[in-house]
Amino acid sequence: MNLLPSLMPMLDAVRERFEDRLDAVVAPRANEVYFHAHPDLVAGFCAYLYKAWDARLTGVFADDAVAEAGVFHLYYVYTLDAAGGFFILRVPVPPNRPEFTSLTNAVHAVNWQEREIQDMFGLKLIGHPNARRCALHDDWPEVHPLRKDFDLRAPMPPFQGERHKFRQVEGDGVFQVPVGPVHAGVIEPGHFLFSVAGEPVLYLQLRLFYTHKGTEKLFESLPITHGVRLAESISGDSSFAHATAFCHAVERACEVDAPPRARALRTVCLELERLYNHIGDIGAICTDVAFATANMHAMRLKDRVMRLNEHLTGNRLLKGMARLGGVRFDWAEDQLEPLRRLPGQLRPEFDSLMELIADSTGTRDRLERTGTLKPETARNFGVVGIAGRASGFNHDLRRDIPHAFYDQTQFKVPVFTEGDVLRRLEVRRVEVGESLSIIRQTLERLPAGPVFVPIDEVPAGRVALGYVEGWRGEIYHWIRTAPGNRLARCKIKDPSLQNWPALSEAILGNIIPDFPVVNKSFNLSYSGTDR
C-alpha cells in the first residue's frame, strides 16, 4: 500500500502490538487506514492510540452492512494530527446480538454519538453512564431509522408529547429554569434546563435534536449529485464547508483530485464563509453584553462579505457553488476584481471595529473570565474548532492535514489557554486577519485550468472519509458507495456535536443572564448536530 511515510511508524507499532487480533489492515488512501478487528479490541485500541500516539477519537458511527456482510459495522475514527492522517477501526456487530460496549466513561466525547447509534440502529449500549434516548425524543416509537429495513418515508404516529425526564437537582433555594425549544432570539430550537441556586448555575441539561430531519437517511435515497445540494442544507451557515466535505469524500472514493484552480476557489469560499460568520459572531457577542453599536458595525461588514458571496457564487450563503470534482463556477474578471480588493478594504474597517470593542472596558469586563472552559475539560470532551483553540487545542485541519489549497498558503493558528468568552472572540479576531491573508495569498498564485473534473461514475462498495476545517471546526463526511451512483451510508459529523456538552461545563458558576453570551461565543449549530 502507498502509505504516507509519517504514518508508517504508527502503523508498524499498531501491527506489532495487536498483530494476532487484527483481521485486516486496508489503506484505500495514503492517509486513511482501516483496521478490521473484533469488538473486544475497541477499548484497548483506543487507549493505546490515545496514550502512545496522542490520537483523537473524532467520530464513532455505525453502518448497516447486514445485506452485504451479514453484520452491522461500528467505525471509530482517530485523527492523527501530528502524522497527518486517519486510523479507522472497524468492528462487526452481529444482528442476532445487537449490542456494543460504551467508551463514554473513558472518552466523554463519544457520549451523544454512542447514544445516537443506539437510537438510529437499535444497537444496545452496554456500560454507558446515561444510555437514554438522544436523537429520537422520548415519545418516538421503537424504530431504528438508519437500519436498511426502515423506510425513509415511513409515517410516524402524531407527536404524543411525552416529556423527557430531566435529572432533578434539589437543595435549599435550588430552582430550575426551563428555556426553549422556541427561544427569545432568532436562533434555532433546543431546550436548556438550568438548575440554579441564587444566581449561579449549578447544572445545565441540554436537550437537542429538535431539528432532526432524517438527513443521513435521505442521503441514501438520493443520487450522489443531489447529495451535494442536501449537504448544503445540513447547517446553512456552513453550507459550503459541508458540501465541500461531502464532495471531498466522493472524490476520494473515486480516486479523483479536484484540479488546482478548483482547490484554490474552494479555499477562497471556505474563507469567505469563515469571514462572514466570524464577523457576525463578534457583533453578536457584543450585542449580548449590550454593546449594540459594535454589532451594527459588524453586521455592516458581514453584509459586505455576504454580498460578495452573491457576486461570486450567485447566493449569499455560497449555496450552489459546490460540485463533485471541483466547483461549479469559475470567476470572471468582474468577479475577481472586488474579491482582490476585499482584504485591503475590509481589514482597516475590521481593525477599527476591534479597536472600538477593545476600548470598551465594560465589554471586556463582561467577556473576560466569563464562561470559562478549562483546557483539561476541553480535552476530555474532545472540543474542536474555535471553542477548542480558545482552550488550548492546538489543531486545525487546514494546517495539520491540509485539504483544498491550504498547503500552498501560510497562516497562523491562534491558540489561547484561558478558555473564556473573550478568548473565543480573540480566536475569531485573529482568524479574520488570517482569512483575509489566505484569500490574498490564494489569489496571488491562482492556478489556471479547469475548475472541476467530471465525475460521471462513482464505483460501488467504496468507503471514504472527507474532511474540511469549517469556520466552526472540523467537519467529517464518511461515505460508503452503492451501485448506480448512490450511497449506502453517509455519516455527517459537524463540530457542534461534540462541542455542545462542553457548553454545560463552561456555564457552571456563571449567572443565567450571561448564558446568551457564553452560548453565542460557542455559536454551535443545532441543525448540524440534529441533522
Binding site: P155, S233, G236, D303, G314
Partner: protein, 283 residues
C-alpha cells in the same frame, strides 16, 4: 463614548432605501428559474438534475404534465444548465398568498421518443406576486400607513425555527441590521409569541418541533399572520416529507403568505413581510 459616536458619524447612514429604490443585487445573483413553456422540448433532463423535485412531471396516455414548483425550488440553477428553455432570473422578491400560486405547469402531447410535441394545455402560471420596482415603493408607503391603522403603528414578529438548516435564520437576523433595518417600517422582532402579530416560520417542520410550533401558534393572539419562509417552509424543500419531517409549515398550521428561496435574501423577506401586512389590510 466619543469614539463610538465619532465612528458612527464617520460611517454615516448605510441603510438601504428599499423599497423606494429597487433591491441592490449583484448581476450574478441567482433568483428563481423561468421556463419558456411554449419552447419547452423535454422536461426530463431538468427533472433529473433537480435536487428537490421542484421540476417534475407525470406522463399519462401520451401526455405529459410538467411543472415548476417554487415552493420547493432552491434556485440552484442546475436545470438551466441542461435545458435551453429554462433560464435563471435575478428575481427574488416573490410572495404568494396561496400555495398553488407558486406552481406553474403545462401539459404536452408527446413524440414517440418522449420529447414534447406541442403544448395542449396551459401554460397555467398563476404567478405569485413578483416585485415591480414602482409597485414595491408604493407598497412600502402603504404598509407604513396600514401598519399604523391595523397594528397600532407597529407590527410585532416572532420568529420560529421549526426545523430549518439555519440559513433562513441567518438572513432573518440580517433584517435587524443597519442595512435592511426592519424597524424603519415600524416592524419589530419580539421575544415572545404573546407579543406577536405575526409568526415567521422556517421549516421543514420536524416531528420533534411539531408540538412546539402548534403551541407557539396557539399562544399568538389573533388577528395573527403566519408567514412560511424559504423552500423548506413553503414545501419542505429538499427534505420533503419523511419519517422525521412533516414538510412545509402549512402541514401543521395555516399559512397566510409563502416566501420562497433558499434562503430568501433580505429583500425577499422584506417584500414578503410587506405583502403579508397588505393581505391583512385587505381582509
Amino acid at each position: 463614548m466619543f469614539d463610538v459616536l465619532r465612528k458612527s458619524l464617520k460611517v454615516g447612514v448605510v441603510t438601504s432605501s428599499y423599497p423606494a429604490t429597487p433591491a441592490a443585487l449583484s448581476p450574478h445573483a441567482r433568483g428563481c428559474p423561468e421556463i419558456d413553456f411554449a419552447q419547452w422540448q423535454d422536461a426530463r433532463p431538468a427533472a433529473r438534475v433537480c435536487p428537490t423535485g421542484a421540476i417534475a412531471f407525470t406522463d399519462a396516455e401520451g401526455r405529459r404534465t410538467a411543472r415548476l414548483d417554487l415552493g420547493h425550488c432552491v434556485y440552484c440553477g442546475l436545470c438551466a444548465e441542461v435545458d435551453p428553455a429554462i433560464r435563471m432570473t435575478r428575481r427574488c422578491e416573490i410572495a404568494a398568498y396561496r400555495r398553488p400560486d407558486l406552481i406553474s405547469q403545462a401539459t404536452y402531447s408527446l413524440k414517440p421518443d418522449g420529447t414534447h410535441e406541442r403544448l395542449v394545455k396551459g401554460p397555467d402560471t398563476p404567478a405569485p406576486m413578483v416585485a415591480q420596482p414602482k409597485a414595491v415603493a408604493e407598497l412600502g408607503r402603504q404598509i407604513q400607513a396600514e401598519a399604523a391603522r391595523l397594528f397600532g403603528r407597529s407590527l410585532h414578529i416572532r420568529e420560529v425555527d421549526a426545523g430549518s438548516c439555519n440559513g433562513c435564520e441567518l438572513e432573518i437576523s440580517n433584517l435587524s441590521g443597519p442595512i435592511y433595518d426592519l424597524e424603519r417600517f415600524g416592524i419589530h422582532l419580539v421575544a415572545s409569541p404573546r407579543h406577536a402579530d405575526m409568526l415567521l416560520v422556517t421549516g421543514p417542520v420536524t416531528r420533534n418541533m411539531e408540538l412546539a410550533l402548534k403551541k407557539t401558534y396557539d399562544a399568538t393572539p389573533t388577528p395573527r399572520l403566519v408567514v412560511a419562509i424559504g423552500a423548506c417552509g413553503c414545501g419542505g424543500g429538499i427534505f420533503g416529507v419523511n419519517y422525521a419531517t412533516r414538510g412545509g409549515v402549512d402541514a401543521v398550521i395555516p399559512v397566510d403568505v409563502y416566501i420562497p428561496g433558499c434562503p430568501p435574501n433580505p429583500y425577499a423577506l422584506l417584500y414578503g413581510i410587506l405583502q403579508a401586512v397588505r393581505k391583512r389590510a385587505q381582509a
